[in-house]
């Protein structure tokens, strides 16, 4: 089969409509996913490990399959292509809609290549997705076939590892690495592979800041490092940077600022796993021209001038109480019947395949 290097725009729009115009979103057929992934791979081959971006741009943290919250982000932050987006990884695992989330992002990236940037998180990996849900989800949604998981995890190998914004902000999924003093060291990595267990590439997606230390320390995660104040000061200084923006850690308020804005965590999955009750945010970087100046003080959000954490809570649909309300998929049926069947006729149009244990 010959797969074209470009997908015609009407075809992309059709895929986007499948996902965006239906509740619940429609799954794209396996062949479509294959084609989308293949095309994006060929395009990503030309993209450097660190994408040079310009402000304004809105930075998005972990999504973890929370599709409806992703749509909420496009509501509050503006929908593509009207807003530039940089996604910091962790699109899949944990949530119910990992497939829909990642396929939507892939289709948007292909449709608006200059408006959407996707980098790699620690969950964009074969090992992690087999352990944390994405693999099981694909098996469940594609009638026992893992093909789609294969296409998508192969694509993950092509995702860049970071981005710079106006050369002043460095954005990556996790954080810094003791093996890396210069951005150029990241630029020279051969990134087209599964995330290794250690080394710069692993550390970028696994590390966390730690306000209580100065130097590097082994991470309790078993991969990556904890990095302290001196590390980030030196890294920024040596690379002409003002700030590190990263994701990777759940925060109750949706964001955390460390060291007076030197490092920011942005977390974009509200009410994580349907139960954490946390807020989420996206970081809007309007302008970086003030950075580095004398007045470059952080405000009460702990961000630098020209930046704003747009905080949001679980999308009304996702937050809806199953027991009382109507769910996002109309699953909850009518609320007037005496014997309310909360789960209505969801999926009745589809042929149900019982979980194999219960055959």
């Amino acid at each position: 089969m010959t797969i074209p290097f470009r997908i015609p725009i009407p075809d992309l729009d059709h895929s986007l409509a499948q996902l965006l115009d239906h509740k619940p979103p429609r799954l794209l057929p396996s062949q479509t996913v294959q084609q989308l992934c293949h095309t994006l791979k060929t395009q990503l081959l030309a993209v450097p490990n660190i994408i040079p971006l310009q402000s304004p741009v809105t930075i998005v943290g972990d999504i973890h399959g929370q599709y409806h919250d992703l749509l909420e982000i496009f509501e509050i932050g503006g929908s593509p292509p009207n807003t530039n987006y940089l996604f910091l990884g962790d699109y899949v695992d944990r949530g119910y809609y990992s497939v829909e989330t990642i396929t939507l992002l892939i289709a948007l990236k292909l449709r608006y290549p200059n408006r959407i940037s996707l980098i790699r998180g620690n969950h964009e990996s074969r090992t992690i997705t087999t352990n944390y849900g994405f693999y099981s989800e694909v098996i469940n949604k594609y009638e026992g076939s893992a093909e789609v998981w294969q296409y998508i995890t192969d694509l993950f190998d092509y995702l860049p590892l970071g981005a710079t914004i106006d050369g002043k902000i460095f954005a990556t999924h996790g954080g810094l690495s003791p093996s890396c003093q210069q951005l150029d060291q990241i630029r020279s990595i051969d990134r087209f592979k599964e995330i290794p267990h250690d080394g710069i590439m692993a550390d970028l997606v696994w590390s966390d800041p730690d306000p209580e230390i100065m130097d590097f320390k082994l991470s309790p995660r078993g991969a990556g490092y904890l990095f302290g104040y001196e590390v980030i000061e030196k890294f920024c200084h040596d690379n002409g940077l003002e700030q590190l923006v990263r994701a990777h850690q759940l925060c109750n308020e949706g964001y955390v600022s460390y060291w007076r804005g030197k490092c920011l965590t942005v977390w974009s999955a509200p009410n994580y796993c349907y139960r954490c009750g946390n807020k989420a945010s996206v970081l809007e970087v309007m302008d970086t021209s003030y950075l580095g100046g004398k007045n470059s003080k952080c405000n009460e959000q702990g961000v630098l001038p020209g930046q704003f954490f747009n905080v949001f809570e679980a999308s009304p649909e996702n937050d809806q109480d199953t027991a009382n309300g109507r769910g996002v998929n109309g699953v909850l049926g009518s609320d007037n019947g005496e014997d309310v069947d909360l789960f209505g006729d969801f999926f009745t149009s589809k042929k149900k395949k019982p979980t194999e244990y219960f055959l």
Binding site: H64, Y96, N131, L250, Y274, A314, V328
Partner: protein, 394 residues
Amino acid sequence: MPQGISPSKKIFDSSDLVRFRKSIAYKKIHWILEQVIEKVKGCEVPPGILDVELITKTPRSTPNRGRNTEANTSTTLPPPESVVEDRPASKNANFNGILKILNHLNSLIDETPPKEGPRRFGNLACRIWHDKVNEGLSTIVEENISIPSASIVETSYYLQEAFGSSLRLDFGTGHELSFLAFVGCIDGLVESLTGPELLTIFAKYYNVVRRLILEYNLEPAGSHGVWGLDDHFHLIYILGAAQFNENKNTGKASTGLATPPVSSVLTLRVIDQFKLRNLYVSGIAFIYKIKSGPFNEHSPIIYDIHTTVILWSKVLQGLRKMYEVEVLGKFPVVQHFWFGNIMYPWRDIDTNKDLPVFEKEEEETPLEPDFLNGTGVMTTRKNISMTGAPWARR
């Protein structure tokens, strides 16, 4: 009679599962499970046992439960449970003893309020609770349960392990398994109890665990996200499904209300009717309490059961098969199941010889929870957990 020794780790990597399956311990777990299932068939949890507060959704509290600790404490938990005396005492001393122990553990939760401050996933006060429990546990077991003194060490061990990990501040199916093992440590207990009495023991146990989960914000120990059966439990669904199965001895189904059709169990009406009578339904009610969002999204596997399976016997059978694979057959779960020399020995079922142990540098579970500290601070502490690297060694 051999002297009991403190159980030790024998399962070091997934290849050890083969030996686990050949062990006396493995056979014994199945034997106990089988016994309990048969006993509880057609029975209901007696009234007043399951704590209704723990499985009833409170009006949706604001999603941000972290900041306002004042309002926080008031919404959470029921008053301390009344003491065991007001329950009709059984003639079985061990039954009464177990309830007394569980009540004691429950009252220790009252004495150990969660620490204030920004909410972290896994409240550190839980560790204090574990310390208090572990301090005198074997004495309490000895005082309240009559078992040969040689088996006290092991019996206390499995009980101790049944309430989650003090280190990781999580709770999962492995801990639930440990409670089953504890029940199996007491010779003749299951045989001598009635179905409702057995259900009382398990229900009281689930009361304690649910309080721990809610009060200290314990994390799910497994982590397939929404693609697991439940964040914390599996056995409870097996026992509850057994309750909805016909009891061969009494020849009738449920002693009280008519058994609800499988397809109706996710409706509010059935949940309200059965959540205090049936462990399965109480499990569903607990999911409703802790989660928000469409049920078919946050619990797709359970949702599937109720849209595709018709007979309770099939539900029971399916859950048991699934338990075999997803709990007893999963290295990340059973690596934490340790083996003594009396109750659950690491010995070959056929030859009664010790099974080999291939000790190695510990391979850490890939199924680490990842609700990393709510505030993003304190990452140096061992107290937090998060997405761990599957290849991590520690």
